[in-house]
């Protein structure tokens, strides 16, 4: 708060309206941000937050409205102008080149070249670029390995690369679109520190997030948007999380999940001592065993990179299982094809919605039938039944409140949260015996989270099994009946959810229990 210079309005957006065809994504929005401020944007999925920021960054031209940067009226008609004006943006979905190194990505589009006198040789000067990047990262506490390839570093690191990329281009105003959605709690802590260090050195930050706690922790001001309209701008220290949630969805939100006690049933999925390799050929899942019962939600708690992704891919037939067995309803399904496993009754909400979960160039309706296009009534023989596909889509859109209510909308034109809803709608309606839910509420607003949680509990109440994988301890603790802690490719502890507390879990997730055992041995 003490960093804010109230005399300088770095950003002033006035009366911004943005229409897509007839659809009004932003409706006469005003936004003022002062120098040195961390300003949060809060709103439901599809409220228009990303759109508003895309307007500021010059990706979209507003239908109406004016933008002032440092008091000067500007026409931001493309991102180059935004960058010139000192605006940098880190998108909801990263835009990095996987095969390039960190430095190569950061300098992309602004490459440093070797100069001989006045003559630009056109040779990349990677050495100098590396040095510059190292200086920047030291200055703001954004530590990265400049020579690592993007595909080899964690999502948290990738995000730092995105931020560095903006800073390298001289950004004074940073827009972060849901930066924490993909981060682990630890990484979120670090990001908040980085943001504070940035504003401490005169930068201004706009952050979009659905996590109210982060807003309370990090932001000075918060602007709330609902269905394209600005509702309010509040001083964060004056309001509670509950106030924020209510302003955002326009009704009371229930943060605790209602869950009645039920008896868990017999074992439906038996994972027996499996080993699965990662891309680098190391044992990411290393002798993992787990039993999943009917009528339970089993949460898997763990720090990212302890074998969760490989486990999910192994269970769903996307990655070979080197040894061990996976038994579903008494049948060995180890290393069967994804199709076979789906038909035997395992459905998955994948952790990477854009890579695995959706065909972005398909319409919503087409995405809804991804695993069942070959079944009645969606097709008969070899012929697709477009009427039924459409009808099915309409039903799901209604039931899961996907916005906009247009089944022909391409998945790529949906807001991030609505993309996630499409996947959840599809997987839950499969009514599988085992539902694997990986980060199911990533990027969802609190209202939608409430709904997803209800859906998962409903599955459980109907005697189905849910395997929940999440980096959010709150989510794991609220939903699970039992909690399994994964560390280094193994389950190191299984606890009853009502006996687990954050401290114990945190300790186990960091490998604490393992060390104890070693000491004892």
């Amino acid at each position: 708060m003490n960093n804010i210079d109230f005399s300088t309005k770095v950003i002033e957006m006035k009366g911004i309206t943005k229409k897509f065809g007839d659809f009004v994504a932003n409706d006469n929005i005003d936004l003022t941000v002062h120098k040195g401020e961390i300003h949060a944007l809060l709103g439901e999925n599809g409220a228009g937050k990303t759109t508003l920021m895309n307007v500021l960054y010059g990706l979209y031209l507003p239908t109406e409205g004016e933008i002032f940067i440092n008091g000067e009226k500007v026409q931001i008609t493309n991102p180059n102008i935004a960058i010139e004006k000192g605006i940098g943006m880190v998108h909801q979905h990263f835009m990095l080149v996987d095969k390039f190194t960190v430095v190569e990505n950061i300098i992309l589009g602004k490459e440093t070249t070797v100069k001989k006198g006045n003559w630009n040789t056109g040779h990349l000067d990677i050495k100098r670029a590396t040095k510059e990047v190292e200086e920047l990262s030291r200055k703001y506490g954004l530590y990265v390995d400049p020579n690592a390839k993007i595909e080899d570093i964690t999502v948290g690191m990738q995000q730092r690369v995105e931020i560095l990329k903006a800073l390298y281009r001289g950004a004074d105003i940073l827009i972060l679109d849901e930066p924490t959605a993909v981060l682990t709690p630890q990484e979120i802590e670090e990001l908040i520190q980085i943001m504070k260090s940035l504003t401490g050195q005169g930068k201004t930050i706009i952050i979009i997030t659905h996590k109210l706690r982060e807003i309370k922790q990090a932001a000075d001001y918060c602007t709330i948007i609902r269905r394209g309209k600005k509702i309010d701008t509040v001083k964060v220290s004056d309001v509670s999380e509950k106030d924020l949630a209510e302003k955002m969805v326009g009704r009371q939100v229930n943060f605790v999940v209602d869950k009645k006690d039920i008896e868990k049933g017999e074992v439906v999925l038996n994972i027996d001592n499996i080993v699965i390799k990662d891309n680098r050929d190391l044992n990411a899942v290393d002798g993992l065993s787990l039993e999943l019962h009917k009528g339970e939600i089993l949460g898997i708690a763990g720090v990212d990179g302890n074998g969760q992704s490989e486990l999910i891919e192994g269970l769903t037939g996307l990655r070979p299982v080197e040894s061990g067995k996976i038994i579903l309803n008494g049948e060995d399904i180890t290393n069967k094809t994804p199709k076979y496993i789906i038909e035997r009754g395992i459905s998955t909400i994948p952790e990477d919605r854009q890579r695995r979960g959706l065909v972005m160039d398909f319409s919503m309706a087409e995405n809804f039938i991804l695993e069942k296009y070959h079944k009645e009534p969606f097709s008969h023989g070899n012929k697709l039944n477009h009427d039924e596909i459409r009808k099915h889509a309409k039903e799901l859109i209604d039931k899961f409140d996907v916005r906009p209510r247009n089944e022909d909308q391409l998945a790529k034109a949906l807001s991030g949260g609505n993309q996630q809803k499409v996947i959840i709608a599809r997987e839950v309606t499969n009514d599988p015996d085992v539902l694997i839910a990986a980060q199911p509420t990533r990027g969802l607003d609190v209202g939608a989270i409430e709904f997803v949680h209800k859906s998962l509990v409903e599955q459980r109440d109907r005697g189905k099994a849910v395997l929940l994988i999440s980096f959010e301890l709150d989510e794991i603790m609220n939903l699970s009946d039992r909690i399994a802690v994964i560390f280094d490719g193994k389950i190191v502890a299984i606890l009853d959810a009502n006996k687990a507390d954050e401290k114990t879990l945190g300790y186990l997730m960091a490998g604490g229990g393992v060390d104890d055992e070693r000491k004892q041995a």
């Binding site: 996307l318 972005m360 296009y373 070959h374």
Partner: protein, 360 residues
């Protein structure tokens, strides 16, 4: 809205191409108006010219559809040329060696040609899905193998027509040309080797459109083409679909070769260089916006440019290289808007009010 834009783009590109072509003609001392006049007259001047244009366009439409189809499934079929050669070769072999009643003979020859070319294309698909070898590389190599295989077989004494650089001619029972009696009553339109090929090409265009949009196979193929990770996750067999897609693409190009032999040439000759029917298909696919129906129009345009363009040479005395340059420039500019569009997505998104979405 997108479609209209594309059409507008394409038409503008053709006009730009023609204008630049005119400038070049002018620069080397020929009257462009006269040249274009000859071209137009050369295409529309008589019913016979029109039928020739259609005949020349037919294989291009088919190879265009072949490339477009592969593209929709996420593959670059550079192998249309080789698949065309295989189709032509097998159709000629079947047309000459088999003895079957009319109609049936033609159908069998067409089907065998399709099958052979499907295997030819499918082999590239197999190499891709089994060993991860990029189809661009394998199809280029398969083009050369097809080329030399064809020449090799034409030299085979049982197949070579004595005192010629070509194979034996197909039996008349295998021909898909319109019967002569039919033609004479209808005037000069039928003075050209009019055949069923064009009708086949149009049927294939609609069939492929149907397969892509309205069948489960098409759903699978498109899903794999757009995002194979998501397709795999959804239980679609990506490897099988890669092979299927290349087989179908191969079959269509093979059909192009077969139709060309059975309808027009009746034989295959020793090739000194590749004829370019498959490579032109890539341009046709591009101009047609990678849509099967678009390929019909693009193929006709391409065929007209080629057929009409070559008439400038005998009449005006302009060296044929110039005409090739003109055609090349027009094609280049037709391809340009796609490139320009791609490079300036950000600009156009803004102009059109953001209807063009950011793809991740």
């Amino acid at each position: 809205m997108m479609k209209e834009n594309r059409l507008k783009f394409t038409i503008i590109a053709i006009l730009i191409g023609l204008v630049i072509g005119a400038i070049i003609l002018l620069a080397v001392g020929y009257n462009p108006l006269e040249a274009y006049g000859i071209m137009i007259a050369g295409v529309f001047g008589s019913p016979k010219y029109i039928s020739w244009t259609i005949i020349k366009s037919t294989p291009l439409i088919l190879t265009g559809i072949s490339v477009a189809f592969a593209f929709k499934t996420g593959l670059f079929n550079i192998g249309a040329e080789g698949q065309f050669i295989i189709g032509a070769l097998v159709a000629t072999l079947a047309g000459y060696f088999l003895h079957l009643p009319p109609v049936l003979h033609a159908i069998v020859a067409l089907l065998l040609a399709c099958l052979a070319a499907a295997l030819w294309g499918g082999f590239a698909g197999f190499l891709k899905s089994k060993f991860g070898v990029n189809e661009v590389i394998t199809t280029i190599m398969l083009n050369w193998i097809a080329f030399y295989l064809s020449n090799f077989l034409v030299y085979w004494d049982k197949f070579k027509r004595p005192n010629s650089e070509a194979s034996q001619k197909i039996l008349s029972s295998a021909s898909i040309a319109f019967p002569k009696e039919f033609g004479s009553s209808l005037g000069s339109f039928f003075n050209a080797p009019v055949n069923f090929g064009f009708i086949i090409a149009i049927l294939v265009a609609f069939l492929i459109k149907y397969v892509l949009n309205d069948t489960t196979l098409g759903y699978e193929l498109r899903a794999v083409g757009f995002n194979k990770d998501a397709a795999e996750y959804g239980g679609i067999n990506v490897k099988k679909n890669t092979i299927t897609a290349m087989m179908i693409a191969g079959a269509i190009s093979g059909l192009a070769g077969a139709v060309h032999v059975l309808g027009v040439t009746n034989e295959i000759s020793i090739l000194s260089a590749m004829e370019g029917n498959g490579f032109d298909g890539m341009a046709v696919s591009l101009i047609g916006g990678n849509s099967p129906i678009g390929c019909i129009f693009a193929g006709l345009l391409f065929g007209a440019l080629k057929y009409g363009g070559y008439k400038i040479q005998p009449i005006m005395g302009a060296p044929s290289e110039i005409i090739n340059i003109v055609i090349g420039i027009i094609v280049f500019f037709i391809a340009m808007p796609k490139m320009i569009e791609g490079l300036t997505t950000i600009r156009s998104r803004r102009k059109r009010g953001g209807e063009v979405e950011r793809s991740k």
